[in-house]
Symmetry: D2
Subunit: 331 residues, 4 copies
């Protein structure tokens, strides 16, 4: 449900306009030094407040409530809590006459029989990713010889994100984008065949990020238009080095030592400043609708640090899984 | 590892050139009538033997070894075994001097320390999907009011699959393709927020299919180039009917009542008839290499029934998950 | 690790002398009314302060941080936080020269490589059960037609708990006890064969309660001394009513409609007021040792409400599991 | 459902009078040498045919269908199949007028809505443990520095099992017994706090063995009658050696380096040669009933090797779990 991973378990909770959001990490190795400073950089990357971004800005200082003692992880479950501060729920109470198009309002209302916390998307809000980014900081520390680097490589169809954002501002409409991620330092052999493959597990994790609608590894959809001799990565030596990396670092679901490379399609922010048509329960008609609240024009811009965190959480689990399988003596 | 799902568990096993392949389904509802005939259509769709396909053709009659009694499922674990018949392992013993490009040979050799069954890809072979297709037949019976329909919509960049295949035959090279899948009859509310979202779970499952390198839902990567007002699906009535289905039937990870629509990028068959260059362990040099064995020019052509099976297995689990959450009395 | 259940997931966290303890419940049905009053009775039953009990008494008011909106569960993860208030960590800092006999100090020190929070047992403390009791209140509400009733039926070998406690006070030593639990209102058919049997799952849960060293169902160990004709419960009618309940309500791991009955052996409180001998790291010798801190003479006395909570959490999961397995139409 | 463990997964399937029984082991380390001879000793220990035992005797040669190549495990899922040979289903067809007391017939009939394979207990049969014993052989090989030794220490209340069996033969009635198990060579630190504690996980596994009705660790139920100073195991040195082992090798759920010791209560064989009274559906009355089929007088006698196998399967998982939690560099 709201958790992921087999060994290095991640459980999230919280709502956009409730008391806060958080995460529990289980099976954290003991002895990892942690301080408030460790979180500042990634938490700031996730925060709003940039040009074209939501004016809702919060301190977002993660409180490490459990699992840390004398500045180090203890090995017990580590709970991170991030209080909500800058909430204006009134914006949402007014909007109950419509299910906002592109949002989870309608499905949540049916699924939870009207009991859902609807304010700002409630539990479906991207606000939940604050806890994940904090958790990702810890995963990155565990995998200290790996690097996780994601960036926005396209906004509104333009490879210069700033120009894409200008296009959105000019159109007074929200826009989508592409986020690309590269993981380096990955040894050969992570991932398990079939459903715990590197691709399966990363894809599962990435689609948990709000607004992600597609993922491709290496050559991805372009691979579908290539010949086999073009796509195959020729081996150059017994260590598995290759001429190219069309496979995106994964063969048979297992890491092959090349950088793991994937791209994500991010849909336009569902909340757009432009008027839309939609069904209104009060009037019983399809009519003009204007979104209340404070929103980003392009959510892709805040996604990279979330993508890195998700990737680090999953890869840590696959790392633990790979090194778990040994007997007490040489066999 | 080699299993999927939370409640309706699917565990696979087997190798391409061993005794056979199989699957265990756990938590099957009792009382589902099953006969050999039920499997013929889907098993035939998965089989090779078509134009441009591998000449390795096997009877592939699934044996229901356990969990069936007097022609009905009992509710106990249902084990399906499909014996391998038409294996020519000699083809593979000869090829140990190279790790075949685009295959799992290299990663398997490192991960399993040389103990892997390397014949025909061993456990990494698409042969394993025979068991999944058989399992999918049962899942489709459980979800009898749903429909799962996948088709090849592009081969070698051409929307007419036959022309794409001609292109491959002319080039004497393998090619990739696109498979599109539509699931209808899905009620509102399947899927759970975040990692058990419909998209997360379907994506995890689809990347377990050999050769899949990308997935997109609804407008997918095209969504990244759309404005919010273009992409959002306007509601027309209180039942959630919409003008369009850019979301591909999923909002906030939850099914919204529209058909679930996704596309998969399938890479070209790694085993291509054309000569390739790769590293040879015997000679210690990068040199010409020619694949032995019997292979499809385009694996995408056999994928649709596998995609349907995977989808049905996952959606059954999400269905069970959704209906599990009720107390013994109205609350 | 620190979680239980397949569908109705329970994740705990916290330490005895840290900021607090808590629990996340996932897959809670929406619409369950919850108020602070709901928790008072069970939380009070768990609290210390009785005769022969620890003088550490805390308010223990569970804060429902997430998953509740307008007085009802929303269906999103429900996080409960119970702050620690009355902690005297200094007691423990002084005691680091010895690993307290009967406690987890030594194993935690080895397992967590010296990084464990050792104050008051840290994460191993029975303090963690405060969160579980709060979670149990919610499970009992879900299973409103069941009843869970546990009681202390023996202390220090005496069937009158009060007399047993007098014996402990007179001996100035801690004592053990027996807790018996009866679950009624259970329909036929809960539990799954083998490892998700009612007995397997309840036993797993009960051994997570600190100090539990044995469990038996129905006639239990006495059954090992009975003849088959004595032990078997004769059926009286087609509804499965029986003359006796030696099976304790479970056959083949599945509930049979009779009350589920089990007993737990609770060891004496590891922290006894009497002097003990143990190894001292400072002196390098085995020498006299006296426990600091505030402790119960008999932890069994506070166990019943914890036993009920654990049972309710597990049975809710089995209930959800049983009702999950249905297709969308009659088959 | 019918599987156990987090990493080293064990999935069982099969029926007493169907085609056979089996098991899939997932996440087996590659490179373990395996031959048919490895299984003979333990499979023979499980088999019937002794004095007072069932005359149903089968070859029970486990077929390693997948996951083994050139005499070694490959690391892929290992499927073991044990065909049923000596089945006399006719015995059971005749008995459908009664639900046999002490068996799962009634609960299975309700739970599976009449679709269960009722012959010889079907999926609930102890026949399923044949696959587990075979799996246990592999687990013991993985944990080659551990030893698992279980023995019958009481039959029909007598500490000499042979005399207990004579008592049963004389009474023409089935009897119960006690099985004791000792695991040595266990390092400090296996098990996780709470539900993955050594006690929790072993208890869960043991109650999956048909006829087990109780389990106690170390002093067990006797601990409930001891003083703290009697029960606590005094430490003798910094390595954790202790004067006694009342804890049974487990403190706070974690192994403490002492042998892990536990006892199981096994109920009398439900199928007793003596006549019993029970409800008859044909006559609509409670009347005399006599069991058909071939059965042991005391199932405890065949249990030790099953207990060892279950213990080895669980401890392997805890071992893998413990060694999984490390980062790629010293932290």
């Amino acid at each position: 449900m709201n958790s992921i991973n087999t060994i290095f378990k991640v459980q999230i909770f919280g709502e956009s306009h409730g008391a806060g959001v958080g995460v529990v990490l289980d099976h954290v190795p003991p002895g990892i030094p942690l301080s408030d400073e460790d979180f500042i950089s990634d938490m700031n990357r996730r925060k709003g407040g940039q040009k074209g971004g939501t004016p809702r800005v919060e301190a977002d200082i993660p409180e490490l409530k459990t699992g840390v003692f004398k500045g180090h992880t203890t090995g017990a479950p580590l709970m991170i809590w991030i209080a909500n501060e800058n909430t204006r729920s009134g914006d949402y109470e007014k909007q109950r006459d419509v299910f906002r198009p592109g949002h989870a309002d309608f499905v949540a209302n049916v699924k939870y029989q009207g009991f859902e916390d609807f304010r700002g998307g409630g539990h479906f809000s991207a606000r939940l990713t604050a806890g994940l980014v904090a958790a990702g900081v810890i995963a990155k520390k565990i995998l200290s010889t790996f690097s996780f680097e994601a960036a926005v490589t396209e906004v509104a169809g333009l490879t210069d994100p700033e120009k894409g954002l200008e296009k959105a501002i000019a159109a007074k409409d929200s826009v989508g984008g592409i986020v690309s991620c590269t993981i380096t330092g990955v040894p050969v052999g992570l991932g398990e065949p079939f459903w715990d493959s590197v691709e399966s597990r990363l894809a599962q994790a990435m689609f948990a990020i709000p607004a992600v609608k597609g993922i491709e590894f290496g050559a991805g959809f372009e691979a579908a238009r290539m010949f086999g001799t073009e796509h195959n990565d020729t081996y150059l030596d017994p260590g598995g080095n290759t001429v190219s990396n069309h496979a995106g670092g994964v063969l048979g679901g297992i890491s092959n030592g090349n950088p793991i490379i994937f791209k994500l399609a991010i849909k336009p922010t569902a909340s757009t400043p432009k008027n839309q048509q939609t069904y209104n329960h009060a009037s019983g008609a399809v009519e003009d609708f204007s979104v209340k609240g404070r929103h980003d024009l392009c959510v892709a811009l805040r996604a990279p640090v979330i993508v890195e965190a998700m990737a680090a959480l999953v890869i840590t689990d696959l790392y633990f899984l790979a090194q778990s399988r040994r007997g007490p003596t040489a066999i």
